[in-house]
Symmetry: C2
Subunit: 215 residues, 2 copies
DNA sequence: CGCGTTCGTTATAAGTTGTAACTCACGCTA
DNA sequence: TAGCGTGAGTTACAACTTATAACGAACGCG
């Protein structure tokens, strides 16, 4: 952060415009979904012509990729600060839910419907593994009950996806189920599949979290 | 199938073209995602001009809604036939996974990223509750262990979402977690979030299924 | 102060969805 | 069987979209 002074006025202006474009893009995505994102509409709202935005983003997909990167970055940051403040696995879970509810479409930018051909850039997968590492750190050290399953043996053998994290196989398994179960409740809630069902999604979330703790 | 004779030739032709359009649409969606679906491209592949398709579908969204309806119908059918053949909850789970893997984009048509403004037509929510009823039927009658949680009391009180299904509160809870947990694993697998992780998604799925049984 | 980089513009190409108006042919009915 | 109406497919068009190209102007660095 000490190098901000080295930026030229043009660079600062450029960054400012880029963030403003992304703000409008986020607003537009929250309103009508990512597929309805229009560079032209953003340009008009910013008071300039359509093609001008191509000075700042190579293409529409490039802008969306940037938003996906920001989403990952944002999730990794909230995870990291939450973990650094000494909170445990349930704390991480509630941080996740709060983050997701804060901007559902941002959540779906990461965990939503994949575009068949699309492959995320290398640095994005790096952030994803950063998130996984934080989750693994929090999963380690808890008491493990029950015998080690064949699946956990398999997990212990192939842990390169965890950055070769030195967690016991049960912890790897716990982190994985933490991820899948909370995503299961959360994504259905955010997608509106529980609307009109009368029960409180937060209670179902906490119920799953409780089941996660005693396993 | 015995009532096909009551249709006029024009109706039969119309139905044939409609299904052919939907086949091309499904193929296009599987290749490049739902957002890349183009009526023009479909028309050209079928050897006719773009606007001709508007005789068969009122709009692009109308076609997509039709595909969503078909997806729900297809899932309800496989669920129903699976349940009718006497299979239990695990059988239902494997039927679900097989159905999802058979056409991932069809799964995401139902459970993928929601479009903010969109509301599914009434009949589609009807099919959704049909699916839920089958799941509730299969969830009823299993032994319930552990005390009834406050959440389950709440579920028992607001069961109109289940079509007032006469299942014990624990069964309502079981059906809900069946849904959320399997969706959690399945959606992450289908979205490719497990690729390159080295473990077998089927084992994680079965592990979750096992945890579901002993709860 | 000048010069080069960068920004924003308009023009244009090639797409898209969707409407309007016009043929034409199919098939029901008289 | 003859005719007529309905529905299918066409082209033309409007209003969008993404994206490129070429031009002018302004900004800021040396």
């Amino acid at each position: 952060m000490t190098e901000t002074g080295t930026k030229t006025p043009r660079e600062r202006y450029r960054d400012q415009v880029r963030t403003e474009v992304k703000e409008h893009a986020r607003e537009q995505i929250a309103t009508a979904g990512a597929s309805a994102l229009s560079l032209n509409a953003i340009a008009k709202r910013m008071g300039m012509s359509g093609p001008a935005l191509y000075r700042y983003f190579a293409s529409r997909d490039d802008l969306i990729t940037e938003l996906i990167r920001d989403a990952y970055r944002s999730l990794a940051d909230t995870f990291r600060t939450t973990a650094e403040s000494g909170t445990d696995l349930p704390g991480l879970a509630h941080a996740l839910r709060g983050w997701a509810l804060d901007d559902p479409q941002r959540y779906f930018l990461i965990y939503g419907t994949p575009v068949p051909g699309y492959h995320a850039p290398e640095d994005i997968t790096g952030i994803a593994s950063e998130i996984m590492t934080i989750l693994l750190d929090a999963s380690t050290g808890l008491p493990t009950d029950g015998p080690t399953t064949p699946f956990e043996v398999d997990l212990g053998a192939h842990r390169h996806w965890a950055g070769d994290h030195p967690a016991p196989p049960a912890a790897l398994h716990r982190a994985l189920t933490f991820w899948t179960r909370l995503h299961g409740v959360l994504s259905l809630e955010l997608a509106g599949h529980f609307t009109g069902m009368g029960f409180d999604p937060a209670m179902l979330f906490d119920s799953e979290l409780a089941g996660l703790a005693e396993q």
